[in-house]
Amino acid sequence: MGAYLLRRLLVAVPSLLGISLILFTILALAPGDPFGDMASNPNIPPEVRLALRAKFGLDDPVLFRYWHWLVAMVRGDWGFSFQSRTDVARLILDRVPTTLFVVGSSQVLALLIAVPVGIAAAVRPYSLLDKLANTLAFAGFSLPTFFTGILFILVFSINLHWLPFVYDADIQATGLAWYWEHVRQAIMPVCVLGFFQAASYTRYVRSAVLDVARLDYVTTARAKGLAEGTVTRRHIARNGLIPVVTLVALQMPAVFGGAIVTEQIFRVPGIGALLINAMLANDTPVVMAVTFVFACLVVLFNLIADLLYGWLDPRISFG
């Protein structure tokens, strides 16, 4: 197990290097610089912009810059944001709790919907419930999140005045009110993200469970006289959900990245919002760091998925 882990980590190193090189090159080739805003300000002389470019090393050759970035990264220095004139690590750490909360809750919501619905649909394939779940799932991922997000705002914030649509990362309240406010403001972004994810998860759960529902040991379990509920819970769902668990683990990075749109709409100060703003402002160190974090997440979650799989499925062993 230890050796397996070590091997996986070693294998990840060239992957991460490759990813970072690709990202860096693309970023370095990308047009624009972080000082565009100064352009419309006639008060800032052009030489200031050029000096800033030079100061941040934007005019050096790409490989040279990459090497510098890499060395700094290895030393634990994530870079320095052009835009905020502060350490990138701090910017990212600032955003992590919010993202974890919103994305995490949306995943929980998605699973809370997808698992029971998917199982129920799979246990009775082609029943009315199955068809309904299927159709709703397709509908779920046929609507772009930006559209559902705006629709939610119009209905729940503008027309009904139920929910706030500006996400406030630190609410000035204490006790129960604090929790209540957090829940209120998180409802819409979490639902938009969660429903979208639930749609695809439902399909996965259904197929995975369907695969299991026809296996011999399920019949064996029935032949033991177990009630249908027990059979479903203990023998079908447990096995059927193993691939789903790992699937969810593998999806996590994509979910973080895909939350960009939702974070934008609801002003959730998450990592995705940081990324898109940094990108629009050409704040290369931040973009680089965040995308690299995403890439690390993918590699990490791949590993977690494998380990989870081994843990959940006793047949897998890490030799």
Partner: protein, 596 residues
């Protein structure tokens, strides 16, 4: 309008025959800025207008609860000398203050200064080479340290050092600051400077404390802890900052103005888009203020129907304009297109330039796109006397444009597109990606098509269009297109730098890494001459006449002003927030208050 007329108008104001506001409006219509008009009046001995502070009603500081500001762009840093965009400047104004700021009438209003320098009080030297500022006594930094002249000298040293890479360097690099006593400094200019109110004033003038930044100058500037933890003299002291998200402050109990500030805390939330920011103030009332609502007025009006707030519009010098390329963007000479060595095949023909001017339906653009937030403007190409109604300054006349082009020999081809000497009238019209701008493009394109001109629209992401990337041909200074549209906001109230965008020597070229300010590459000897003279002319009224002339020269030709744009903000019902078109929205946040 010449110098004589201007003097007459100043006299009218002095004699009460013309209101200050009326005077300022006329000057603005002539292409001057309100601050310049203010300075003309001051020079002419007209008394200052009523202080905006007089409208402040609360009788004690605090008790106003939270003030919630919503910025659809989020501030990313809190050092005024590093502020890149308006969003950062605005956020800095919560904590930092300048010596003086520009009010909406274009007048200087003292903030940290004891009084506004003038020729009358002898603070402004007659030779235009120095100005003396006196600090208001008893002002303390939020950490209790006193504000002194040393702080001002330090700010000058800090900002002028190229290693600091301050964005305010332009205001400080050509001056010298001397300490006279603990509360007095003298700003020295190396040549006669008519416009002295730049350093320590308004946006670039915010003053940071020496005792916190002295160890972090030059290359070390980025390590200063106070970059992220501001300590200023402003009405609110710092609580928390999340870059790109929120800024939080609480009432500065030791603020130097009485009964201020009104609110107990201030919160600035960033991110999202302008429309939903407007919704949060105007429709749901979640926030008190929404910044820079660049949204079609149609939508704003609808949101206002919610009754939770109103849209406040102030006009500074924010001009949306269309440039006609004087050079040829399609021929490459010495590795660059739009080279000064070339001439545009069509725009070198005055008839085509005039026709283009006639094909721009400014009224439709103003009415249907900008509404209250923009005024159609042509900035007088027909004569100096018609400044009463802006509507008469321009015309939208497709028939006349057609006739002009016919007469000039541009004949329609079988495809309906005009051509002359084998050159088809196919223009590339570029601008940054921005909904109203694209609609303007569509409107111009449609009208042009009716006059046999084919227009290809192109829009470039703002981050690219406005970047200083030398290698990218899509930045606006490269101008590798026939026409381009963007807006320019003169944050500096003096038009000297503004007018440089029409000076021959400022033409953006490869040789100056496209950092030249003259984007259209328009060249005019008279303009260049006037520009040089105006730079050292100390009589504001004479100088104003020169500026008006320069303006007229430029806009009659390759520069087609479109819209004089206002800055719209959403204000919650009952919120009193004096805004200024000449300064940041939060320039006077100390005076904000809200009716119960």
């Amino acid at each position: 309008m010449d110098e004589h007329d201007l003097r007459g108008l100043v006299a009218d104001v002095k004699g009460g025959r013309l209101s200050r506001r009326g005077f300022v409006q006329r000057m603005v219509a002539l292409g001057l800025t309100a601050p310049l008009a203010g300075m003309m009046l001051a020079h002419g001995g007209v008394a200052r207008a009523e202080d905006v502070r007089a409208t402040y009603k609360p009788t004690k500081a605090g008790g106003g609860g939270p003030l919630k500001l919503l910025f659809w762009q989020a501030p990313t840093l809190l050092n005024p000398h590093f502020a890149i965009g308006t969003k950062d400047q605005e956020a800095c104004r919560i904590f930092y203050e300048p010596l003086a700021a520009w009010n909406n009438d274009g007048e200087l209003q003292a903030v940290l200064a004891a009084e506004i320098p003038s020729a009358q009080n002898g603070a402004v030297a007659a030779d235009g080479r120095s100005v003396v500022w006196k600090l208001k006594p008893g002002v303390k930094w939020q950490d209790g340290q006193p504000l002194t002249a040393d702080d001002l000298v330090f700010n000058w040293q800090y900002a002028r050092d190229p290693a600091t890479a301050a964005t305010t360097i332009g205001s400080y690099k050509d001056i010298t600051v001397e300490k006279i006593d603990d509360l007095t400094i003298k700003v020295l200019f190396d040549k006669p400077t008519p416009f002295w109110a730049d350093a320590f004033v308004s946006v670039p003038g915010c003053i940071i404390p020496r005792h916190l930044f002295a160890d972090y100058t030059g290359a070390k500037s980025r390590d200063a802890p106070a970059n992220l933890h501001p300590v200023g003299t402003g009405p609110y002291s710092f609580v928390e900052f999340r870059p790109g998200d929120t800024v939080r402050g609480e009432r500065n109990t030791g603020y130097h103005l009485p009964n201020r500030p009104f609110f107990d805390t201030v919160e600035l939330k960033g991110g999202g888009d302008a429309v939903s920011a407007a919704r949060a103030v105007l429709q749901t009332g979640e926030y008190d203020y929404a910044y820079n609502l660049q949204v079609e007025d149609e939508i704003l009006k609808r949101l206002e129907e919610g009754g939770k707030g109103r849209v406040d519009i102030v006009f500074g010098n924010y001009l949306e304009f269309l440039l006609l390329n004087a050079t040829d963007p399609n021929t490459e000479v010495d590795g660059e297109k739009s080279s000064l060595k070339t001439k545009h095949f069509a725009f070198s023909d005055p008839a085509v330039r005039q026709a283009m001017n006639l094909l721009v339906d400014r009224k439709a653009i103003a009415d249907y796109i900008y509404g209250r937030t923009g005024k159609a403007s042509a900035n007088s190409i027909n004569g100096p006397e018609r400044y009463v109604s802006p509507n008469t300054h321009f015309a939208f006349d497709i028939a006349k444009a057609n006739k002009l082009l016919d007469d000039a020999g541009w004949a329609k081809g079988s495809d309906g597109v005009r051509a002359k000497d084998g050159k088809r009238m196919h223009f590339v019209y570029q601008s940054s990606t921005n909904a109203p701008r694209q609609k303007t493009q569509a409107i111009v394109k449609q009208a042009a098509a009716k006059a046999g001109i084919e227009i290809e629209l192109k829009n470039i992401a703002a981050s690219v269009f406005f970047s200083s990337d030398v290698a990218n041909p899509d930045t606006y200074p490269h101008f590798y297109a026939d026409m381009e549209e963007y807006a320019f906001n003169a944050t500096q109230p003096d038009p000297t730098t503004w007018l440089l965008q029409y000076a021959s020597w400022e033409a953006a070229q490869k040789s100056n890494k496209w950092q030249g300010r003259n984007i259209s590459r328009w060249q005019n000897a008279e303009f260049d001459d006037l520009n040089r003279k105006a730079a050292t002319e100390l009589d504001p009224i004479k100088r104003a006449a020169m500026i008006i002339r320069m303006n007229d020269l430029a806009v009659a030709d390759n520069v087609l002003p479109l819209i004089y744009r206002g800055s719209a903000a959403g204000l919650a019902k009952g919120l009193h927030a004096p805004r200024s078109g000449w300064d940041n929205d939060l320039w006077d946040i100390a005076d904000w208050w809200k009716e119960a």
